[in-house]
Amino acid sequence: VSASDAVLAAAVDADVDAFDVAVDVEADVDVDASVCAAVDAQPSLTLADHWAALASAALLGTDRRPAPTPPPGALADLVGASRPADDAESVLVQVAALAAARRAGLRPAPAAPRLASCPDDDRPLCPPAAGRRLDELIEAWPELVDEWLTRLAAAGFRLRPQHVVALAIRHRTDVARRALIDQAAGPLAPWLAGLFPTQFAGAARSRARPVAPSNAAPSSTAPPSTAAAVDEPFPLPPDLAPLVGAAPADVIGTLVDGLSRGRLANRHRPVLVHLVRRLDPAILAPLAEALSRAGTNPSTLGLTMSLADMARTRAAMITELTESATDEQNEQNEQNGTTDGPDAST
């Protein structure tokens, strides 16, 4: 018995008589019994052959090629009972019945071996809150993504797979940033790049660079400098440059004053964004608070609120990654403690 006969037998098991009622409500054909009979009676004629004959008639058109005669049994009875007006209708009746039987008799294709699996990464997964923060950064503050990645790797976490894919595809041609992503992604990044060379184009180049030995026990290597994202040289106008190292009160005062008087305006947006990105983390929360209460000048209100949001977001992101790193360590210490506990007591 051929594969497609088995398909049909399975369909019959599954009570396929629904379709004949649908094809012609006046037909009263017991498909179960007669299809089985057809299969028994004519083992040489497979339903796959008959399907191919129907398809070829439909492709050329029944004007040029007549409808194939159904094998005796359920199909023939069905065609007889539905009294097709012409060859086209006969083909359609048979197609409806056969397609239904083939689909309902669905079986899996032959089994397939697993892919060579990705090497393990023993770093813990990025905590959920930090993961949600990254989603927010990608949408709202892409300027902060690099710092987030650096801090994540420094805290000893690995990226969630969905972020590996999203970031690697987004920055596939940006080799420097890919190195940062690959470091946080661990062995998953080169493994994926091997499977999806088109989507992850640029990965080959980033792997060729001597950076981010990602699958060499990443948690044990010294964390990269968290200051990396902040140390880069960067253009600030002379009147803003001193703010980077200034006392919190001065920074906040200058910004709030400048924005509410309109001295700092939308044309300064890029430099101000860079400034907030570079500021000492300790200033961020009070700055956000001061800015969100300071918006009184209608022409700079949007900018003020936007900078407040950025400062708040960056402060929250730093807190999350620092706190969860500490939690993780505490947890590990606790685990060590509990495993040591029984030994100590006995």
């Binding site: 369909a11 599954a14 009570d15 396929v16 629904a18 009622v21 649908a22 094809v23 012609d24 409500v25 129907l54 398809a55 008639a57 439909a58 492709l59 050329l60 058109g61 040029r64 012409d86 060859d87 086209a88 209708e89 009746v93 197609v95 409806a96 019945a97 056969l98 397609a99 689909r103 669905l106 079986r107 899996p108 294709a109 032959p110 089994a111 397939a112 697993r114 892919l115 699996s117 990705c118 997964l125 959920p128 949408e139 797979p161 894919v165 595809i169 493994w191 994926l192 499977l195 969100s292 209460r293 918006g295 209100l301 003020t304 609120m305 936007s306 407040a308 949001d309 929250a316 807190t319």
Partner: protein, 477 residues
């Protein structure tokens, strides 16, 4: 992070920033809302168990009055934006979930609005047995578009003489189906190699006629078929099988009264496949099926400029599959449906049919929470049996959900899902495959997918620490 104003969150369990973001009609609205979601921008804010309200200083001279009713949710904003919800509503909700809105007694204007809504709801409930669902008042557009058919044919009107109207409609549908069947037969007569079929025009004409004949579901089916012609090897077999299904549906649809006598459930299935719209009240009158429903996945498709979202559910004790359909036109928000990876304790009411999948959500006993254990999974062979049973009952079914324990792998350059019982090809646009492969890292995982005639579309990877939604997103995201 300390909350300003010393306030407490009103309903911490249910709302989180991602829920607010999920309600947004598009990304631009989220970005705009984010910049507005700062205390300095707002005054007279407050919240209680049922509502959040506030006044937003916008770019215009007049500040905007914003209020949100949380249960439904429903929105009200005095801004002129056509987006639903608008950025002010989203910003207010973000402000609230971030703990910047104090708990207060609601002011009169908000109380009046809520009272008016409640009164309307009561009236609607009273009329529900006789009338189609009421349309929303203009000043109060409910966010919940779940299960409202966007068809151009429109729902049947509740005008007097329903029998006469029903008969008229039946005659119109039958005429449309007769026309469809003649067209389908002509295609087989002249052959599928007919070059005219490679253009959209002839399919569109047939689809338009079906819309006129009030058979919108068949119209969409014909339109989908136009997109298959010539697109891949073996397309003509797919088109032929579909023409067979259209023929069967056309004939069955023309003989509905006879069919209803001998096979009532099948007749209901045919009605649904043709596009007869049931009144929601009639569906809600079906006996409730109470269960804890695993939200296993969602998939969006764009049909005739409408985003159609399928949210698939699986009953924990009943083991039933269920489908929530929702629709959104351009610029409107989907959302309000439960998220994949959650579980919701609720009644559902099934649309009648031989293999009933589609349901309406009824009474919600407990809101969606994280689905810690995940849905039950089968082998691929087991899933095929499951799908086969449904297809035997409704041979024209185009999608059916499945949850399997399987691994993604490559066979001759094609992605498949595989396990010890075999493999099934992955179909659809393959955008979700890298994410699927990344989440499994080559190992077995619990994966929910949609069966379609030419393969499976992965929707969700159920990982130990949460579900990852990889289903196709429609339209304008």
């Amino acid at each position: 992070v300390a909350t300003s104003n010393g306030s407490e969150r009103v309903d911490e369990a249910v709302w989180a920033p991602e829920h607010v973001v999920a309600m947004a009609p598009d990304r631009a609205a989220v970005a705009a809302a984010r910049a507005l979601a700062l205390p300095g921008r707002w005054s007279a804010t407050g919240a209680d168990d049922e509502a959040v309200w506030g006044v937003c200083r916008g770019s215009g001279a007049e500040p905007y009055q914003v209020a949100v009713e949380l249960a439904e949710p429903a929105f009200r904003c005095s801004c002129p934006s056509r987006k639903l919800p608008c950025k002010h509503v989203l910003a207010l909700l973000l402000l609230w979930v971030n703990g910047h809105v104090p708990a207060l007694t609601r002011p009169g204007v908000v109380a009046n609005w809520l009272a008016a809504r409640a009164a309307r709801a009561a009236t609607a409930a009273a009329r529900q047995t006789t009338v189609v669902e009421p349309t929303d008042a203009e000043d109060d557009v409910a966010s919940r578009r779940t299960d409202r058919q966007p068809s151009t044919a429109g729902p049947p009107s509740p005008a007097p003489g329903p029998d006469k109207r029903a008969l008229e409609r039946a005659a119109r549908v039958a005429a449309g189906l007769g026309e469809l069947d003649r067209w389908v037969c002509d295609r087989v007569r002249t052959g599928l190699t007919d070059p005219a079929l490679a253009t959209y025009a002839p399919w569109d004409q047939v689809a338009a006629r079906l819309v006129d004949a009030q058979a919108p579901a068949l119209a969409n089916r014909v339109r989908r078929l136009a997109g298959v012609v010539g697109t891949r090897a073996g397309w003509h077999e797919h088109v032929l099988a579909e023409l067979g299904a259209l023929h069967a549906l056309a004939i069955a649809g023309c003989h509905l009264p006879a069919l209803a006598e001998c096979r009532p459930a099948l007749a209901d299935s045919v009605r649904t496949a043709v596009g007869w719209q049931l009144r929601q009240a009639d569906v809600l009158a079906q006996p409730p099926i109470t269960d804890h429903w695993h939200v296993v996945g969602r998939s969006d498709t764009l049909e005739d400029r409408i985003v159609v979202r399928r949210t698939w559910l699986r009953g924990r004790s009943t083991r039933r599959w269920a489908l929530l359909l929702s629709f959104a036109a351009y610029g409107q928000s989907l959302g309000g449906e439960p998220e994949p990876g959650t579980i919701i304790h609720a009644d559902v009411h099934a649309y009648p049919g031989a293999a009933p999948l589609r349901v309406l959500l009824g009474l919600i006993h407990a809101p969606a929470t994280v689905d810690v254990d995940g849905p039950p999974s089968a082998s691929l062979a087991g899933a095929c049996d499951d799908v086969g049973v449904a297809l035997a009952a409704e041979p024209w079914l185009e999608r059916h959900p499945l949850t399997v324990r399987a691994w993604p792998t490559l066979v001759d350059g094609r992605w498949v899902l595989a396990d010890h019982t075999g493999s099934m090809p992955i179909t659809g646009n393959l955008d979700g495959v890298p994410l699927l492969v990344a989440c499994t890292a080559g190992h077995s995982a619990t994966i929910s997918a949609e069966w379609m005639p030419d393969g499976v579309v992965p929707l969700t990877v159920h990982l130990v620490d949460g579900a990852v939604d990889i289903g196709p997103r429609g339209g304008w995201s």
